[in-house]
Symmetry: D3
């Protein structure tokens, strides 16, 4: 694990140009195979979410711990929300429980007021009708009317968590669209943006060739040495 | 189980002011922990369903019982439909089988003509394109093109059933929205409406405070004695 | 298995008049009970898909076989795509794996250019935002950002496959709508169209009777000898 | 549904000669396709269970109904147990919930003392270490340490239920072994015993031929007209 | 969360007298409803496991973190093992992944040599044939031949974890038998032992009454005031 | 895919020395990550299965294809069985359907008579009580009393199949034990045996060191350069 400085708004803005698929392909080439969250979906189809992860870890409910973590002013979930601002995404480990609500329209009103980017959880969100009006990106496994405290408690904030089967560290970058959610390890973000830009252009080239030549994608795709060579020439011509 | 008179249209209208989340919180405070249907969703997002339950219980298909329950004029499912009118919801126990259709556009045409409110099932609905034009609330686990009779048979109407893991008695009140479906036991409906009204107002107050003071929700939420006190003062001032 | 000639565009056009439910009922009467794909859904609600199946069989990834089937010009998946044109649907056996992508916007660009009707798979599609703009019918178990080659490889084209728990032979006819996907064995297509036409009319008659007489559907439905007799008279009158 | 007299001990004894597979094949030939319980297993491998069903129906927990059905002397579950004696099996509908306990060593001690044959449920049994010493056949989906009353309540006894996806009527005959549990509708029991006897003999004949002739089973199996003819001759010779 | 001293061997020995069911009932009476691990089973039926929890938390695999946590001398999993001795159980959070191995016969050889009591995980164990000879209690969701490092990495030891849907703190007491695994919060252990002793005696009394009086368990069970009174008299007589 | 000669009995005998875990680790080092069958278990715990795969592919039931594949003398399943002899394992693709039986005591009697090694399927086996007496290795996802032909049909033999999520080619080598089933691609078998022998010895060395030195496994395991060096010295000394 390498120490990293906070990812800038500029980089986040650049990331908005890419679909999750592109970023995932780039990360796979670096040996990162477990960076796509299974089962986590946008509750507002068509939206995109980009931001730095602020993390929150839930654990199963237990009366003696609930006193410390629920119903007080300064609890892990409220501390996590206060850590979020513009460019930040609250990423919540709900242990993959589809029925476990991590919060609703009162708690996340504050997230909206703090101008955070959105919420990602492998549990459920509640009050989704209200939440959808907040302008936040909402990515979850489920929506529910149930409240969380019977099932889970917010245990600690800004630590390493799992979410949707992916390890997330505070400061990692989250990218979400209709295909799901990808986690970009912080120290790779700059490199990923660079390689994704190149990849996007290459794929654009390939699509143009397929259309122009009326050939099977197999002639160029997946990209091979020959594809790459033609791509370099095409870039020069442009 | 307490005997109850039929819930009035007036109460049903009042209930339309509340989201499922609010009602569920009120019921939990009364010790009712299993009143939210898992896995049952609105097939027409954005709609709300409120009504008294008329129940229908399906059992697995068996040739000797099918003769009595399918393909005749006066079967449990048709009797159940005839029990429905304005203010009523047909709630169907399909044993949680995602592939089991409880009916389609011919059967439920009658429900539309009888001006019932809608259908709730933990099985599947078919002909959903047509059904969606009927003006009925449609809440199910799934949609399917398959017909039901190979798998299930309508065994009896207006008895105690389970649906989505919740016990439903005829006359209980059903509330459905994008967060799912809640069952309000009949004898609690009046009290629930009263407490939900209070709760809605309290949450409105809390949201206003969070916005006005620019503070963490933790200062007021979940409501504590201090929250309650300020709320009472706020109500007086209003 | 009976040899059949290619289903004509005219028949395909006629099939567009029917919902999957109707066709499925007709097939069941012929003893075809496993012709509805479980878990395969339209990614573009409201669309209908009709076409002849061109099939593609994926198997689990294995390095020694991957060389032959991925990353070359003439692989099973590209051969399958080149077999598709107007009136054809690419049906892909992904072994029911919800996380396994069978392709995205580059591969299926060619399918669009070849004016095929659409794609059906019991796996996942990626780049769905782009794909949805192609005018193809898209039916899958899931959408994903992951690429397929880590998990599966395209093994052979135009052979018998399973998809969504249904056997599909090349040349069978696919019908998809919001209720799911039905497979019509090739040798039955003409008969199915004829019987479905009759069935559609009969159901129209029944609906009219239910509306006109203000009676329970049970009087006529499911259709019995008496229903059939009245229907014949009604047809004569028309 | 046809009225039937109670199945005799003699018939039950005859049934012990057959494996579930044989009985299931016979029932399928009568059009009974949903008589095998999915997911219900013997907790004591190697044991066989035969008996008449006494049924018990559980529903989801709800406080107002729990008063009537739990914690009193004369509740549905205790009434069901008192209906059981030699030759009887208690069949319990737990709605297929793997975590829901229907009882443990105190409740079912009475079943042992009443000399019943065993228990079948699609829920869970608890105190299984003690239960296994009772000499009862134990077939369930799961074992658990949890108690049931938080989740489910015994609602009524000796009514039609589902168990493991099969409809069970009081008086139906239950057959359980290491391959699972089969339900024989009461009015078919005599015929099933007769046909199963014939089938068992036929399969014995086929096995002998396969061994003697050193041929593929395909020569005789599945039994065809030619197989049947040779079988009749073999029976005569015997 | 209350600070507690280490549970003594004497208390652990006393706990061996109780089945999980009894302990779970006692904990429920204290409001502890989520202390039974779902899906975690003994790999050696008939064995019992009692001990203090030493915890280990796994997270999803990620290359940059793997360097720190795998393949070195002093990693979280080895530190956790060195914390175990007589009276200790290694409890491993594998995020409920049935395919994820937390270790096999080399790693856990050390646990055997350190005379620990056993292993509990909601993931999988490998090399189970060898492991079963070690004299350790083995409770897991699954056994597998796969190695863990492709999927998960040991992130930290002796922190709060979830395992099988239960919160476990270091020092909590684990009880496992054929009905599954129960977690006793450390500060409740003494009280639980006391109440379980009483409960065991009460149940013994009830069983004796049921046998002696030939009555339905409902007369005494679940225990009511009248049961309790008779029990007190019975204790005095003894 | 490389052409290979049939694996000799001698190699199969050598393979019996290894647990699945060891072989799986060796294969992973060669980049083979999908060679372990998920969910396929020994029905006779404690047994080991080693043999060359003869494959059989099932597809979903369909009346027009059933005529060709079921109920005749020379069908794919009977042809597959006749291909099996000593050293062979019948590996059956049942599309991972837990309820789908691929055969019982009559069909597999022939396999026993042909002295084959056993059966592997990701579906179910029936008549398991009889089957267990045949001396065959039995690895399946499930046992059932249901017959297969309502659900699936044997489509073709000795082709590439999937089983338990693994690609299997005819002639590949199957290894099964209590940890599950591993598939060794044919062209790698000799190398795998060699490397597994080395690995087994290395692990033996590590275990000896852990015992002798009373140290954490972390000192030697996972094996590093230093471990390897000491191992080489140890081998020389032996």
């Amino acid at each position: 694990m390498k120490k990293e400085v906070k990812i800038s708004q500029e980089i986040l803005t650049q990331l908005k140009a890419f679909p999750c698929t592109n970023i995932l392909d780039v990360l796979r080439a670096h040996g990162y195979l477990k960076v796509y969250m299974e089962g986590v979906r946008s509750l507002i189809p068509g939206t995109q979410l980009v931001g730095r992860a602020v993390t929150l870890r839930f654990l199963p409910q237990r009366p003696d711990l609930q006193e410390e973590t629920v119903g007080k002013e300064n609890t892990p979930e409220y501390r996590a929300i206060e850590l979020c601002g513009p460019g930040d995404v609250l990423v919540i480990d709900a242990m993959g429980l589809p029925y476990a609500s991590v919060g609703g329209d009162i708690k996340f009103l504050r997230l909206k007021l703090r101008k955070a980017e959105g919420i990602v959880t492998d549990g459920a969100l509640r009050d989704t009708k209200s939440l959808k009006t907040y302008g936040l990106g909402l990515f979850a496994q489920n929506s529910t009317a149930k409240a969380g405290p019977m099932d889970i408690l917010p245990y600690e904030e800004n630590v390493a968590i799992q979410c949707g089967g992916v390890l997330v560290l505070p400061g990692d970058v989250i990218l979400g669209d209709d295909d799901g959610v990808v986690v970009i390890p912080q120290h790779l973000v700059h490199q990923v943006v660079q390689e994704a830009t190149e990849k996007e252009e290459l794929e654009q080239f390939i699509k143009e060739r397929i259309i122009a030549e009326k050939v099977s994608p197999g002639k160029y795709y997946p990209p091979r040495e020959s594809t790459q060579k033609l791509f370099e020439e095409w870039k020069k011509r442009k």
